[in-house]
């Protein structure tokens, strides 16, 4: 597996596509700016949302129990899964019980996190993602590169080619309307046939036991309304206390995500319709571990709007797949080390710590500070790349000793000035595409000492 820096370097080799990717996501960020700026109380709204989420995290156990009781009273089956494996087994158990061979699924980052698709496929169950972007990446045997815009790394030409291969659309046709219609016709059959529909959950209301799913395509509703069994999979952090809190989050979510005032569908599910079975799977999968880490717990406030992706100058120029995680971008980089430190050690370093992410975040997660904290944590665990610890120790030693620092500085300037080939070469990553700074004949301190005398 390539690390973030290596994968980004590959991504950037296609300069034109990088420009396109950057500009497309910047356009979404700009729409978010416009939508947020017409609300005078925007910053208060962020504060409010942040406080509600803090409150939930401080009382999570109690709210989960309340939610479970209310949901059960509504006639919903509630399941608890401690990890991805248990979640997948529960879902498979339900599918198997109904003898289903195919199911439809609307967008759920949790099921991506749990790798449900590959799990069920191995068991002989066909999973059909019904979100258009997700269906596109599923055809291509890829994972989403963005949590709201799963196929944002692809251009319409790519989609045309993919649909030509998988749906038999005419070769070379890249008309978005035509291709969308082809997908619609293709998915319709699955919607009508599926016995089981899986959806994600955006918000679960403790006081009522209901849950809300936000989509723009209506595919969650289409699936859930037609299938005999509706399984909603949610991370335990999706709880909010009261129905009226939705007024805060629904105003923030779509504006932050795409600059829309609200998602086209904000569907409330409270109880199964007659003859239907409704299940909720509550998944921990490391969330309680994160909850117990004071400096990282508030990453669990995330409402998966992806505003931090769209604003991140690194994400826009490296693409979602460079993060090698179901959730990419800045938020992914602070969630991933919780799952596995070693394989995600590169991600907290895939940032300049510019802080834009923390300031677009609708629930005010201090993302860039957590990136910094993860860096400390991972290095303390001894996960530094070869040579890094030693060079850091050397640098710290030089900079702690003024006389040695002065000597090193003079030597450094001497080299840059007189032996430039030692630094201006491809072994020095600075100089691959940049010139070294010009070396002045004396340091400021030397100048200052002679000025004084």
């Amino acid at each position: 597996m390539l690390n973030h820096a290596e994968a980004s370097e590959q991504f950037i080799q296609d300069a034109e596509r990088t420009t396109w990717h950057d500009e497309t996501l910047w356009f979404v960020r700009s729409k978010r700016d416009k939508a947020s700026k017409v609300i005078p109380e925007w910053e208060d709204l962020r504060d409010h949302a942040s406080q509600i989420k803090d409150h939930v995290l401080a009382n999570l156990g109690q709210y989960l129990i309340e939610f479970e009781a209310k949901a059960k009273a509504n006639g919903v089956h509630v399941h608890w899964a401690k990890d991805a494996e248990e979640h997948n087994q529960i879902v498979y158990g339900l599918v198997a019980k109904h003898g289903s061979k195919a199911l439809v699924k609307s967008k759920s980052m949790l099921t991506e996190e749990c790798h449900l698709n590959s799990f069920l496929t191995k068991k002989g169950v066909e999973v059909v993602d019904t979100d258009l972007g997700e269906r596109i990446v599923q055809f291509r045997d890829e994972v989403p590169s963005h949590i709201v815009l799963p196929a944002i790394h692809l251009k319409k030409e790519d989609v045309g080619e993919t649909f030509h291969q998988h749906l038999g659309t005419p070769k070379g046709n890249k008309d978005p309307q035509f291709l969308t219609e082809a997908a619609r016709q293709h998915l319709r059959g699955y919607f009508l046939a599926a016995d089981v529909a899986i959806t994600g959950v955006n918000f679960a209301v403790a006081e009522t036991g209901e849950f809300v799913v936000c989509t723009n395509e209506g595919n969650a509703d289409m699936g859930a309304h037609l299938a005999k069994v509706h399984i909603a999979c949610m991370g335990i952090e999706k709880i909010i206390p009261r129905r009226k809190d939705l007024g805060v989050f629904l105003r923030l979510l779509a504006r932050s995500a795409t600059g829309q005032l609200i998602t086209t569908y904000s569907s409330h599910f409270a109880k199964p319709r007659e003859g239907q079975e409704m299940h909720i799977v509550l998944v921990d999968n490391g969330r309680t571990r994160q909850l117990a880490r004071p400096e990282f717990r508030n990453s669990l406030k995330c409402i998966r709007c992806a505003a931090c992706f769209n604003t991140c100058p690194v994400y826009r120029r490296s693409g979602g797949h460079s993060y090698h995680q179901p959730v990419a971008g800045p938020i992914g980089s602070i969630l991933a080390p919780n799952f596995d430190k070693k394989s995600n050690v590169d991600l907290p370093f895939a940032s300049t710590l510019c802080g834009s992410c923390s300031n677009v975040c609708p629930v005010k997660i201090n993302i860039h500070e957590q990136l910094w904290f993860w860096r400390q944590d991972l290095m303390k665990e001894g996960l530094a790349p070869a040579g890094k610890s030693l060079s850091m120790k050397g640098m710290a030693w030089i900079l702690s000793h003024p006389k040695i620092y002065r000597l090193a500085g003079a030597m450094g300037r001497f080299v840059v000035k007189n032996l430039p080939f030692l630094v201006n070469n491809r072994l020095n990553p600075w100089a691959k595409q940049r010139e070294m700074p010009e070396a002045p004949k004396e340091s400021f301190q030397t100048w200052y000492q002679s000025r004084k005398s």
Binding site: A5, S8, I12, E43, T352, W397, F444, Q445
Partner: protein, 238 residues
């Protein structure tokens, strides 16, 4: 007013003109400026690389050089932010100022004898802008303000423009510039391109590290566009 000038290591070694401008300007404005001789580095390069546990030597050296000063002023937003957020001494954390911030908030400079008859592009460095709040940011719904622009407005014949994306990161990012070389350079190239369409002669900012990165790219492109620290412009009269 007694002021200690903090000259970050790479400014000391590679951009002495920035520190000289800071020193001269502060003196012109009536400050008694002390330059502690044995200062080196704020420790940020280690801390941002995940080795904050190795910054003890830098922290104590900083303390030895700057203890007792009420105003520790430096021309690099990023280093100042590091001290402000991570130095173990509360007194020091509360006494450090980025130089533009110091001119506006403490000295409350209302006029300057400065002239710079050029068109420049203003780069808003992230740590100064979002970290130290030197100016408002486009992410937030807030009343626009800019301490740097406030100062540049005092310079005669200066024409400054912001790029279309007013506060996007240049991609320097400390050791990020070498560990994520491809993204870093690409970000810098994009930033420069947005400045160049505005027909500017200089890229100007309050953080020398961002400027160093962009200068490296400009020079590799053989561009005639140069970099200048804001403080060099505020101290310029011609």
């Amino acid at each position: 007013m007694r002021v200690a000038l903090f000259v970050p290591c790479y400014v000391d070694q590679f951009y002495p003109q920035v520190a000289i401008a800071g020193l001269e300007l502060l003196e012109k404005l009536g400050c008694e400026v002390v330059v502690p001789k044995d200062q080196t580095c704020c420790g940020q390069p280690m801390a941002n690389s995940g080795f904050a546990n190795l910054t003890g030597g830098c922290d104590s050296n900083f303390s030895q050089n700057f203890d007792g000063f009420d105003y520790i002023v430096g021309p690099s937003g990023s280093c100042i932010l590091h001290i402000k957020e991570h130095h173990p001494s509360e007194k020091i954390r509360n006494s450090v100022y980025e130089i533009c911030e110091f001119l506006v908030d403490v000295l409350q400079v209302k006029k300057l004898d400065a002239r710079f008859p050029h068109r420049v592009g203003l780069h808003q460095s992230c740590h100064g802008q979002r970290g130290l709040r030197l100016s408002s940011m486009t992410e937030r719904n807030e009343v626009p303000f800019s301490k740097i622009a406030q100062l540049l407005d005092l310079v005669q014949d200066l024409d400054y423009v912001l790029p279309e994306r007013a506060d996007e990161c240049c991609g320097f990012g400390g050791t990020f510039c070498v560990t994520e070389e491809a993204v870093s350079v690409r970000m810098g190239q994009d930033r420069i391109q947005e400045h160049l369409v505005n027909q500017i002669e200089y890229v100007v900012g309050a953080d020398t590290s961002c400027l160093m990165h962009m200068e490296g790219i400009l020079r590799r492109q053989n561009s005639p566009v140069q970099i200048k620290h804001v403080i060099e412009i505020l101290n310029h009269h011609a």
